[in-house]
Symmetry: C2
Subunit: 309 residues, 2 copies
DNA sequence: ATCTGCCATATCCTATCGATATGGATTTTG
DNA sequence: CAAAATCCATATCGATAGGATATGGCAGAT
């Protein structure tokens, strides 16, 4: 059996006429007759009743006709699906992000843009820790991940820096510095020399940790670290509990947490927090490729905050 | 595109190995490689990633694989459906019957037997008058019909005599002859010489009408006909209304109608009522053929009523 | 570095699909 | 009523393409 048989059969059935069907198929009548007979022989079923003036379908022929049409349509559908999948218009995509990523307005915006631009993609979002996300990427449980620090061992992965933003001081609302009015004047980093710090733990991604330590050293003191938090967001919980102050990406200001006050920093150099996209280096998926392209393109044109001091 | 391409592709996808797939397909590796490439060229999509140690599917290839399997299954299904249709195991059948036919126990029994024996057939039952059934047969609205008289013009049709049964006298419950006890002794036909008769109208099918008239003549009188009824069952309504007596097939005794009493007949010859199956002579449908065969076979072995005098 | 495994390319053969020619059955037409 | 026309089936032949064989190339394994 080949598709040819079905195509020929449909033509004959629709024309009710072998000669006319042959014409429509751009071939001669005898080979068409033969192919139809071959189909009947293979099925061991009479599909056509030969009349003096053309042919007509038997009941079995009618049954086959509708199926044959459906099969050809099925194949058509399979082809377009395959092509669209190859073009990255169809498929699935799992995007991971750390708890702090979605606070950056870029992340929800680019994800919404991707959904709008590729409605055929089944998009899944997964929040997780940086370490877990890296593992998920390597095990193909996640296709791309928004993270906030460079990774220690990016073997097999690509980590794309997208944007940077300033960091803010998060401090307990009861703290003396918080009294200077909500969002008071920027504070020189040196003023924090005596404070104890809550930091995002280093082993997941050293970037933020090191940037904070380096900035403090540049400001002339070595910060005292009281506590490491597993996630950026959880540093705020510790700050609210009065365990110390923290430096967090500016976008976390949107998170109005009870007992936490924010203040800007002044002076140079200032610690800055990156937003990055991690993907598999060898990933050939068109969907992932489209997603990366969109993310990088959008990042390039993303409006920098006016005051990123 | 031909099915060959799909079959080959599935084998390669499942083996992850062109050489091994070729072996499984009973062919050599180079032509298989060519066919796969031809498929990729036609789709303009890369389906396989060539690795140093075998091949692996691209995302598009995975999309095609599941569709390809479904398509082959679809074809398989179409083939069995076609074959079963040809064998008469699948399809539709419309069986017509006159109002009096289902009273004969043979009819419900054979229909139930057919349903049990051919569960794949969508069976439709239609009650109608003999004339209409004949028309329905000719216009293919009905495939087979149980009727109670031979038809006047059976051109293009086959009318199969199945069974015969005795006829009973149906008379108003108030009639003098009815007083002789329910189901009293058989009455000689000659006793009815003075009665007026209600008969099933002749033009639909002359059989019953003529049989009754002939029997009366043989009994030495010419019956006086007061009224013609369009259906056998409706003769009983007229009898109940006191418009006369009627001779009806014995199986109608099962119809306990208020105001109607039944008595058997004695003497020879007695009028007898046939049960017949009408079908299209040229009908090639396997379903109809199976139905006819079953009906005739069942009729042949149907237990004759012990007293069919 | 050599060898092995596996896919791609090149060339040739043959099976089969399709074209041409013809026959047979039935209906339509002169 | 005979002849022409219509349409499907059969027979024969040729071209296309699918498959076989031989060989090359590339990347891991030994």
């Amino acid at each position: 059996m080949e598709l040819r048989h079905l195509r020929y059969f449909i033509a004959v059935a629709e024309e009710g006429h072998i000669t006319r069907a042959a014409e429509r198929l751009g071939m001669q009548q005898p080979p068409l007759s033969q192919q139809i007979r071959a189909l009947e022989r293979e099925l061991d079923v009479q599909l056509l009743r030969r009349l003096p003036r053309g042919v007509e379908l038997t009941e079995a022929g009618r049954a086959l006709l509708s199926d044959a049409r459906a099969i050809l349509a099925h194949i058509d559908h399979a082809f377009t699906t395959t092509r669209r999948t190859a073009r990255g218009e169809l498929g699935r995509l799992v995007v991971g992000f750390t708890s702090s990523a979605p606070f950056h307005p870029f992340v929800p915006r680019v994800i919404r843009a991707f959904r709008d631009g590729a409605p055929g993609i089944a998009l899944t979002l997964e929040e997780s820790g940086t370490t877990e996300l890296i593992e998920d990427l390597r095990h193909e449980r996640v296709d791309a991940a928004f993270i906030r620090t460079h990774v220690t061992d990016p073997a097999g992965l690509t980590v794309n820096p997208l944007l940077e933003e300033a960091m803010l001081l998060a401090l307990p609302a009861t703290h003396a510095f918080a009294a200077c009015g909500a969002d008071g004047l920027p504070l020189p980093l040196a003023a924090l020399a005596a404070e104890t710090f809550v930091v995002y733990r280093r082993h997941a991604g050293p970037g933020l940790y090191d940037a904070i330590i380096a900035a403090c050293h540049a400001a002339g003191f070595s910060p005292q670290v009281s506590q490491e938090a597993p996630r950026i967001v959880s540093t705020l919980n510790l700050v609210a509990a009065g365990l110390g102050v923290a430096l967090v990406p500016a976008s976390l200001r949107r998170m109005q947490m009870d007992g936490v006050a924010y203040r800007g920093l002044q002076g140079t150099p200032q610690p800055r927090a990156p937003l990055l996209l991690a993907t598999r280096r060898a990933d050939t998926s068109a969907v992932v490729r489209r997603f990366i392209d969109l993310v990088r393109q959008t990042a390039r044109t993303f409006p920098r905050p006016v005051l990123s001091v």
